[in-house]
């Protein structure tokens, strides 16, 4: 199967899964931004995306994307490490042309996955998971908060430690996408002498928009808690 056996095939899978994840983040970020404008509307969306079949299918789809992206990334990184040969250069200089992100995509990815587990515990586990268990007849006691996303957002970012953790996470995502977005377009072959610079620029803009959408939510609710004097260290 050429998608697994050829280098460009593997890159194609990285690229498609990566881009799909970017689209998801754009949707997710926009949705979260609504929480700033109107917590009620945000909760309405949460309600819509509870444990319904379409939300569950999408969740499984996302999990598949992440697993594919991560598996291929691991294989790619390992193969590339071996391709370098056993003996390493004793002196090697970095260049301005080679971005920090492009050299550390895997490390950034591992950081992203790590925080993602935390994030799933913070929200998914308390919301969709609770609903799923409830629907299957399990007992979680009071489930009235399961679609109250705004409540959980407030609660989490009232804790300044979580604000900082999430900002670090978003920083890693920003770096990852700074290289990832343009790289995926290049992998798909969408570049030429005119578009080369534009695609790099588009990549940076998309990365920044995605990350700013999330950052605004963290900063808004973090600042709100500090100003109202309601900071609380709830884990």
């Amino acid at each position: 199967m050429w998608l697994i056996n050829s280098s460009i095939g593997r890159k194609f899978v990285m690229s498609i899964t990566g881009l799909a994840l970017v689209l998801f983040l754009l949707f997710h970020g926009t949705m979260n931004f609504v929480a700033i404008l109107s917590p009620e509307s945000y909760n309405a969306i949460c309600h819509l995306l509870g444990a319904n079949w379409y939300a569950l299918v999408a969740t499984v789809g996302l999990a598949v994307l992440v697993i594919l992206h991560f598996t291929f990334a691991s294989v790619l990184t390992w193969q590339n490490y071996k391709a370098r040969g056993k003996e390493r250069y004793s002196v090697s200089e970095s260049y301005d042309e080679v971005s920090f992100a492009s050299r550390n995509m895997f490390v950034l990815g591992v950081i992203i996955i790590g925080f993602m587990v935390l994030h799933l515990y913070n929200f998914w586990f308390k919301m969709q998971f609770v609903e799923i268990v409830h629907k299957m007849g399990g007992d979680f006691g009071d489930i009235s908060l399961a679609t109250d996303g705004a409540y959980y957002i407030r609660l989490l970012f009232a804790n300044p430690v979580y604000c900082v953790l999430y900002l670090i996470w978003l920083g890693a995502i920003w770096y990852h996408l700074n290289h990832g977005v343009w790289s995926s377009l290049q992998t798909l072959g969408l570049s030429n002498s005119v578009w080369f610079k534009r695609i790099k620029c588009i990549g940076k803009v998309v990365a920044t928009i995605v990350v700013l959408l999330f950052v605004s939510v963290v900063v808004y609710f973090g600042a709100e808690a500090i100003m109202n004097g309601t900071t609380a260290y709830v884990w």
Binding site: S6, S7, Q79, N80, Y89, V98, T187, G189, F196
Partner: protein, 251 residues
């Protein structure tokens, strides 16, 4: 203005492919700044011969930047610190008095060391043999202007064709990827009418060969293009991706 400098060179010495190598440091005095880098190594070798020591093995041929034989990873850069030149076009004026210059061979799994600074770059030849050509039936000499080619395409094909197959791209790449080289070769022929017949087969065969030989997966870091002595651009990698994906999806 001619000037002389005294330098130290730290050279990778390795007696054969399977032997363990190590760095040796040599002092060189009164090296003219007008000397080329390879002339400096010639001087070093004369010195070594006089001392009854084994001279340093290194690759070179044309010494004018067109054959692609010279290599060397000099102070952390393939073909040295200068831009857009091969090692044979590099001059000692780029170095200063008292400097320690570290000289290493290309390091990539697909380029095994033969001796000292010499590596086996047959892998690139094998990739070319897999499809980097056009088959033509011999016959009368065709008229040069019989096949019109738009200027922008001809220019881009020429830019790709300027690749001399030196291997600096794979040597510079943290992934040990040969994509810039393969892209240059595929691109050059994909742009010209003569290359159309074997276009899809070429992209598939050359990429398959590249993978088989153990080169890495390109992650578009761009170190290759930054170090390429002929400034082959990353846009050719995009074209190679296009050619390859197009050919595979047609199957």
């Amino acid at each position: 203005m001619e000037k002389s400098i005294n330098i130290k060179v730290k050279v990778w010495r390795q007696a054969g492919p399977k032997v363990k190598g190590m760095f040796e440091t040599y002092e060189l005095n009164n090296i003219s700044t007008d000397a080329s880098f390879l002339e400096m190594i010639d001087i070093l070798n004369e010195q070594l011969v006089k001392e009854h020591k084994e001279p340093v093995a290194f690759d070179h041929d044309c010494r004018e930047g067109i054959c692609g034989m010279c290599s060397l990873y000099i102070n952390g850069h393939p073909h040295g610190p200068d831009q857009e030149v091969t090692t044979c076009q590099l001059h000692m004026r780029k170095f200063h008095d008292g400097q320690v210059i570290t000289i290493e061979p290309w390091r990539s799994r697909a380029f095994p060391i033969i001796k000292d600074l010499m590596v086996d770059r047959n892998a690139y030849d094998k990739i070319i043999q897999a499809g980097g050509y056009v088959s033509v039936n011999t016959g009368g000499i065709p008229d040069a202007n019989a096949i019109p080619i738009p200027k922008p395409k001809a220019d881009e094909a020429m830019d790709a064709a300027s690749c001399i197959g030196c291997g600096a791209c794979a040597a510079a790449c943290k992934n040990g990827s040969a994509m810039l080289f393969v892209a240059a070769k595929v691109s050059q022929l994909a742009l010209l009418p003569q290359g159309q017949v074997e276009r899809a087969a070429r992209a598939k065969a050359m990429v398959a060969k590249m993978d088989e030989l153990g080169f890495g997966n390109c992650t578009n870091t761009g170190a290759c293009a930054a170090e390429c002595p002929k400034s082959v651009s990353l846009i050719h990698i995009a074209r190679l991706n296009r050619e390859y994906l197009g050919a595979k999806f047609k199957d």
